[in-house]
Amino acid sequence: MNAGWTSPTVALVAALLAGLVALPLLVTDAYILHVMILIGINVMVAVSMWLLGVTGLISFGQAGFMFIGAMTTALLTKSLGWPFWLALPLSALVPALIAAPVGRLSLRVRGVYFFLVTLAFGQVVNGVFAYFQEPFGGWYGIRDIPAPQPASLFTTLNKVPFYYLCLALTLITVGVVYRVSRSWFGNVLWSIRESELLAASVGIDVPGTKLIAFVVAALFAGVAGSFYAAYFAYISPLVFTFEYSVNMLIFIVVGGFASIAGPIVGAVVLTLVPEMFRMTGKYQLLAFGLILILSMRLMPQGIAGAYAAFRARRVRSSLPARAQSPGMDRET
């Protein structure tokens, strides 16, 4: 794990925050703001997925929970005419409520079995929404989802309000997940990763702890989905696919599992790079597949892990010579 609140880290985070808040004042290009919003959505989902990933479990149903959140917002605001601000908390709550029984069942199995069950769950959410034309819109999805209120502010052409909304939601997500991962509860999660048996033997309710992490992850995926629906005004089963969940996993693997910086760095880098090269659709999958293989082979601790190792090496090399271990133990 990283060193905690050293002053350079605080300064860096503060500067980054100031930059993010001031960005719309400096940049007026709508495209750049759009990319920033995309990054924000991806960071929310990746970070929520990472929280459960801390215990060594990866939920391949994350896109499914995001879809449930997006669908809740779409149905409430479009069909029932609710304001977005009421739909948003409900869109977080509904996936969490669904996650509770699903997690209770799927956490009965461990490791790769859990991967497979959550994978199947994501497919089923997608399948159900695609199967029922009423009220989910079937394969065509739902169009013309109303923007948040006041409508005069959140217009299609003005990205700035959406940018600030996205920034706020992302910061809340990252902040809460960070606090949780650093709390007593977070320590319990890490202990489960190290040794599930040992954790259970000192009286930790292992399934219960995992379940809470699973539900919290679903909750924030729902928030991301809700924002997605309001921002794009269009959702369909072709968006929230298994591939989407895997992309989130790739963000975490490339960024690194060891700290919350991992999923954030991964999401930022891997959202920016395809945008810069204008890669689309199938070719992006090709590139992401290769990136996943390469980073598993060459950089098993991700960018954040490699950076931490680099810093540690610099500190160490300034000390008197000492036997160095490569320190590349594999983590997932």
């Binding site: 799927s106 199995v109 790769v112 199947a120 695609a130 090709l286 597949g289 997932t332």
Partner: protein, 288 residues
């Protein structure tokens, strides 16, 4: 009555093909605890191989094209083992993730190379048979027969040949097998080859019944995951029973309510199994 029989026969045929593909998944899992995500892409690639060898300018006879495709699939399988799974030390979670990467890369490369036009392998035995009012395409019977023959061959191989016995020994206790002078690495290579060959035949059969496209590997792979989980990972008998069961339910729901509902029903069955018996029908303890 005829409808019921029709559902049962077509369900059994699909179930047998799924069985062949799922057997490859369960074999690798049983022996080295690897969930091979590339398996579906092997299915897809060999279907394309059979098509281009047997239908294009080459026009090889089906059996020869099938053999070449199986050899190619085996080669890809072994390459995957050496490049992906061995460097991960066959760690189950890492292998799963890196396998997804390879699967995505292969699938989108196939989109780029083969394009989206749907093609199909022509039936080896054309025509339709009338079995007491139930119509069934000869090609389906052929596919079902081939699957049964291969499954029996796999059983005989595992129980009556030296490499097969070595495989089961490694499955039961890797270290004890090592002490008996069985190289587990060699057994792994054999297992990857067999698994890839099963995928290749499954791919050719799927390609001749339902057409070929770069996405064709995804659904059988998901189905195999559900099947091996219901049957119990690593259990051959469980895989056979679960595959036929899933084939029948798919056929019934597909005919009565439409194909998209079939997957939801499968998942419901899977969830039910997890509640009642998390290790599957015949599986090991799941404390991975």
């Amino acid at each position: 009555m005829t409808l019921a029989l029709q559902i049962v026969t077509s369900g059994l045929v699909t179930g047998l093909i799924y069985m062949l593909i799922a057997l490859g998944v369960t074999l690798l899992f049983g022996i080295m605890r690897v969930v091979n995500f590339v398996h579906g892409e092997l299915v897809m690639l060999s279907a394309f191989a059979v098509y281009f060898l047997g239908v294009g300018e080459l026009g090889l006879p089906f059996a020869l094209a099938m053999l070449c495709a199986a050899a190619a699939a085996a080669a890809v399988g072994v390459i995957c083992q050496y490049v992906l799974f061995r460097p991960m030390h066959y760690d189950i979670l890492n292998c799963f993730i890196i396998g997804i990467g390879a699967s995505f890369a292969l699938r989108s490369a196939s989109w780029a190379i083969f394009g989206p036009e749907p093609i199909a392998i022509p039936a080896v035995v054309p025509g339709v048979m009338n079995l007491g009012g139930v119509f069934i395409a000869n090609q389906r019977l052929f596919a079902a027969g081939l699957c049964v023959v291969l499954a029996i061959a796999l059983y005989l191989f595992l129980h009556y040949t030296r490499p097969g016995k070595a495989m089961r020994a490694v499955e039961q206790d890797r270290e004890a097998a090592l002490l008996m002078g069985i190289s587990s690495e060699q057994v792994y290579v054999t297992a990857f080859i067999i698994s890839a060959v099963l995928a290749a035949v499954g791919g050719a059969m799927l390609g001749s019944l339902f057409g070929i496209d770069p996405e064709m590997g995804a659904e059988p792979l998901l189905k195999s995951f559900i099947i091996v989980q219901i049957g119990g990972m690593g259990s051959i008998a469980g895989t056979v029973i679960a595959a036929l069961f899933i084939g029948l339910t798919d056929s019934a729901t597909g005919t009565l309510f439409g194909g998209e509902l079939a997957f939801i029903i499968d998942f419901a069955i899977l969830m039910l199994i997890l509640i009642v018996r998390p290790r599957g029908l015949f599986g090991y303890d799941v404390s991975h």
